[in-house]
Symmetry: C2
Subunit: 370 residues, 2 copies
């Protein structure tokens, strides 16, 4: 097992990573924060897959454990679904000593975190990620929230968990497609700040489909460490934290343009990362040889993606509607080298559009307009 | 004009108090925080009473000013109404540089503040209170939020405004009943921590119905100062801040039991303060002579209140459902002296119920069961 400390102004918390650690560690992290009632928030898919799993892990604590089952899917990450968590809390007579447990992927984690931030103006919550993406990305950094029909994650709060328990056994049942999608965020952390992590992944490429827990512990811990260090420097995304959005400008555009229905978040970000690398090379930042290495890493993982027709006006509107938009353009995240990202401020859609056209022509097997 | 600084860990802000200051001060406080778009949140009553008032004050800034008009009333302080603010922001293409202005009383202020806390995980907002209650109470301290059908202010955030502009001219159009209701919170601050404020109010009792701005500036500034100092010591209500809930345990019970329909918040708190004073005396804390002075101050302002029938079980359930409830009882706020409150932990409804029965018998003109 590995542990990683995240130290933030409001306090520190620990991420515990390892195979088969839930039963031992969840009681250990919950006991100091819970008084009487624990509400486990999950989705219907996970509830069928692991019925009563969290309650069983918490049985030795003697705490009252209840469950709130949400419908599965990004399209339910709304203010309305959030209201169902509050309804359940109120119906159970929850108070400021109640603790939430997010048992699920990024959607469950984001909604549970926002509910924990807002219920009685703040109660503790513990993350138990069940996807690679949630483990490596959304469970660190405290960004929580829900989508608005006109904007992803438009409504939310910064809220840090009391602890994260990342049990690799839970990831073993992930569908292959979800596992691969999560890998993109893991790789992203290497691309923006940790070149040796990229070497480690390249050297162990064969283990990506395995249940070699020692490999996964190492890969996850190094990847999480990058995100934790960035968030520690800039929790509220006032400067450096923006580099974590590497691949996300185009990624969000793809998700919005396909109504969050066709592709997984990680898949959209994967294409966005390849494009951001391409842009970095075209604009003279990333040496072409390094872009080739980026392709070697990403192309085997990317599946063909078909986007609905997209003209420049739509492209521009979708890019600028992203919430990182300030007047005068986007903060686009580019690479100087593999393992070294930087922020290019005031980037306009008009500059990006022609390069996007070239990108589509060069990588039709990755992304094409239908 | 008077100003009061509120200093909190995340930064300081200023409360500006005076007659006819809106046109001069609002542009001054908005300009440093707004880039392009300002959204004024108000209710339909105020929008009819002061059409375009805030936009006119902001005209010299050249900023784009839009308005979001919510239905008037505590019963609309819900997650659904909050969603209307987000809908408007998204439709206007708002971003992290957008600023909200809360133009209204406590309901508008609480919802606007929570929207500002949550939109894009936090944008600035400025308070322009139009009621005495909002000016003296809800515009200081950063408690924002909405009600749940099963609990008042059950969902919310701590969010401090960028500034508060309290124009006394706006209070001049307040209905007499609202003005009187707001006075209870003003008096509360004297009762819990500032005996000289009580003397000042007693000496100027005749001016409470006047537009003597010099009197009001002084009364408001002293009252706001008490709240500001308490909040500075304990923003998140981990200890001393709870004394601001003086009168609120019974107040919330009255509001919930009458479905927020019959009495104003201040009126319910007024009865709650008289009761908390009575309880303090009955339990041997507040000397009887001081309780008589409390009665002299409060009784002329209290109107007869009729509550629906209430048995001990309902009384107990309503008291314990309040969110300040921890296991083992309530933190009840009592008085040692006028101007000196303290927290009595682990107070049970069973202890309070018999004293409440005596209270009803002693003050039938203030509160009786129908």
């Amino acid at each position: 097992m590995k542990t990683l400390q995240v130290r933030l102004p409001q306090g520190a918390y620990t991420i515990h990573m390892g195979a088969n650690i839930l039963d031992r560690l969840l009681p250990q992290v919950i006991t100091p924060v819970a008084r009487e009632l624990v509400l486990v928030v999950t989705n219907d898919t996970l509830d069928s897959l692991y019925p009563g799993r969290v309650a069983r892990a918490l049985a030795p604590t003697g705490l009252r454990v209840e469950t709130c089952v949400l419908p599965d899917g990004e399209r339910y990450k709304t203010l309305e679904t959030l209201g169902r968590i509050f309804d359940r809390l109120m119906a159970l007579g929850a108070n400021r000593q109640t603790v939430l447990v997010a048992f699920g992927g990024g959607v469950v984690g984001d909604m549970t975190g926002f509910a924990a931030a807002s219920f009685m103006r703040g109660i503790p919550f513990v993350q138990v990620p069940t996807t690679l993406l949630a483990g490596v990305d959304s469970s660190i950094g405290g960004k929580t929230g829900v989508n608005h029909p006109l904007g992803k994650n438009a409504i939310g709060a910064f809220k840090q968990p009391a602890a994260v328990v990342l049990d690799l056994e839970l990831l073993a049942t992930l569908p292959q497609r979800e596992l691969r999608a999560g890998l993109f965020e893991l790789i992203k952390h290497g691309l923006i700040q940790d070149a040796p992590l990229l070497d480690f992944l390249a050297a162990n490429a064969g283990k990506l489909n395995s249940q070699d827990w020692a490999f996964w512990e190492e890969a996850l811990c190094r990847s999480c460490a990058v995100k934790a260090r960035v968030v520690e420097q800039d929790e509220k995304e006032e400067h450096i934290r923006a580099i974590l959005n590497f691949g996300h400008s185009l990624g969000h555009l793809i998700e919005t343009h396909t109504h969050y229905e066709t592709y997984l978040h990680g898949e959209a970000v994967g294409v966005g990362m390849l494009f951001a690398g391409y842009l970095s090379t075209q604009w003279g930042h990333l040496p072409p040889g390094e872009f080739d290495r980026l392709c070697d890493l990403l192309l085997p993982l990317l599946m063909p993606m078909a986007l609905p027709p997209l003209d420049e006006a739509t492209f521009s509107a979708l890019l600028l509607h992203d919430k990182k938009t300030a007047q005068g353009g986007l903060k686009y995240i580019l690479l100087e080298h593999l393992g070294q990202a930087f922020i290019r401020p005031n980037t306009t859609p008009a500059e990006i559009w022609p390069v996007f056209q070239q990108f589509l022509a060069r990588f039709p097997q990755v992304c094409h307009l239908s």
